[in-house]
């Protein structure tokens, strides 16, 4: 009986420790952004603010000819990303843009790696530039649905970790939303008009973690009390 009590108390302590660790790790107050200074007034009025840690944001790039609007296959692909709910959702949660071939950005970032004969090309890259999904002229999906299924496969094929705290971060998992927030077009910014800056995309916070931690701690406490009470009862009984 004493051995049983010891084991129960031990397990209880371990569960409490695990719960406390979990709570510390996933405390809702944990900031995922860097506190630094944003100036709201020109002189000596420095406010503390949070800067977006969005460097690892995924990018969706559509590489096209300069006259892509006149090319049916290329304009069709661009329209898929603007109309299809899932693709729009992905575009809204990533850095999405269309890069005509003679543009400075295309020439700077893509010209060395992408041949003109392969256009149109759709790339999904992570923050380091690593290509996770790629389709070019010869293997382009034939419909928006196919494109959505294939791009969705990129995210669905990622391993799902049963233990959320073991999940690699960042782990973007776009999901269809009826009204995704559109990516702002910088050139649409009116001059001398107040500009509503886009909200930085935050990684979803795992709000269940504190609850799980609390349950673990509670379970540990109940287990310990149960074990001790059982032990005391058995001694009294004896």
């Amino acid at each position: 009986m004493n051995a049983r009590v010891t084991v129960m108390v031990g397990f209880g302590l371990l569960a409490i420790a695990a719960g406390a660790l979990l709570f510390t790790e996933y405390s809702p107050t944990q900031a995922n952004t860097l506190p630094t200074q944003v100036v709201s007034q020109p002189v000596f009025a420095i406010e503390s603010a949070e800067l977006p840690e969005d460097g690892q944001r995924y990018c969706v790039s559509i590489l096209v000819h300069d006259d892509w609007r006149q090319r049916r296959d290329e304009s069709r692909i661009v329209s898929w990303w603007e109309v299809h709910p899932y693709l729009r959702s992905v575009a809204g949660q990533t850095t999405y843009d269309v890069y005509p071939m003679s543009g400075p950005r295309y020439q700077r970032y893509f010209a060395a790696a992408i041949r003109e004969a392969d256009l149109p090309v759709v790339l999904v890259q992570d923050g380091s530039g690593k290509v996770h999904w790629k389709a070019n002229r010869t293997d382009m999906p034939e419909s928006a649905e196919d494109m959505a299924a294939s791009v969705g496969g990129l995210f669905k094929s990622r391993p799902i970790y049963l233990l959320p705290w073991r999940r690699p971060k960042p782990c973007p998992q776009p999901s269809p939303t009826p009204e995704p927030s559109p990516q702002p077009t910088p050139n649409d910014v009116p001059i001398f008009e107040p500009v509503a800056e886009p909200e930085p995309v935050e990684e979803p916070k795992d709000s269940t973690m504190p609850i799980i931690a609390g349950l673990l701690i509670l379970g540990g406490v109940i287990g310990m009390i149960g074990g001790i009470v059982g032990g005391v009862k058995s001694r009294i009984g004896n």
Partner: protein
């Protein structure tokens, strides 16, 4: 008791990876193979690799701060705003003046005026260039750090040339020049140069 054993197993690491089935039984060849160990091959490219066409040269005999922030604006896609800034503002200025102009334009910005090195590190890892005070009575555009540990600068007096300085030396100099930096929030940062997994060595 069984519950506690189960909890312990969950807590102590019997993790399982569940691989979701894809829509089709066939593997999608458009999904690039996983190469989590591979590293970006562009080790000498800064995180904010500004195209030459977007780099604003100095003008009006000394508008280095204005030119530096216009380069930042163009890189982030604010071409009309940069053009308007070029038309309306010039001459001597400081990062504080740039902040005031940003405020008038209604553009959200972030800045440090006390040599916060972490601010530059944040600019670099999130791919944002910044206008910084550097050299004597001068300002340039900080394009970020490279994986090789250098800071890359774009000097508006010679915008075609990129300047590489070892990170420690750069940080020390920057603090010596006042430690001021300002960048723009929002906008569209372009992706990094695309790269794929290296081909497996078959030899």
């Amino acid at each position: 008791m069984r519950l506690f054993v189960l909890l312990l197993l969950v807590c102590c690491g019997c993790d399982v990876e569940v691989q979701m089935d894809m829509a089709s039984d066939k593997p999608d060849h458009r999904i690039q193979p996983d190469c989590s160990g591979a590293e970006c091959p562009y080790r000498d490219v800064p995180f904010a690799d500004v195209p030459v066409e977007y780099r604003q040269a100095n003008y009006s005999g000394g508008s280095c701060n204005h030119a530096s922030i216009q380069t930042v604006l163009r890189y982030l896609g604010y071409h009309d705003l940069a053009a308007d800034w070029r038309k309306r503002h010039g001459g001597g200025a400081s990062a504080l003046d740039l902040a005031a102009i940003c405020k008038r334009y209604g553009v959200e910005y972030a800045a440090t005026f006390n040599g916060d090195v972490e601010f530059l590190a944040w600019c670099s890892r999130t791919g944002r260039p910044a206008a910084i005070h550097y050299y004597s009575n001068h300002a340039v555009t900080f394009a970020g750090y490279t994986l090789n540990g250098h800071a890359v600068l774009i000097d508006n007096n010679r915008p075609e040339t990129r300047i590489e300085i070892p990170k420690a030396e750069f940080v020390s100099n920057w603090k010596g020049y006042g430690g001021m930096a300002i960048t723009i929030l929002g906008g569209k940062r372009p992706p990094q140069r695309p790269w794929c997994c290296p081909r497996p060595n078959t030899e």
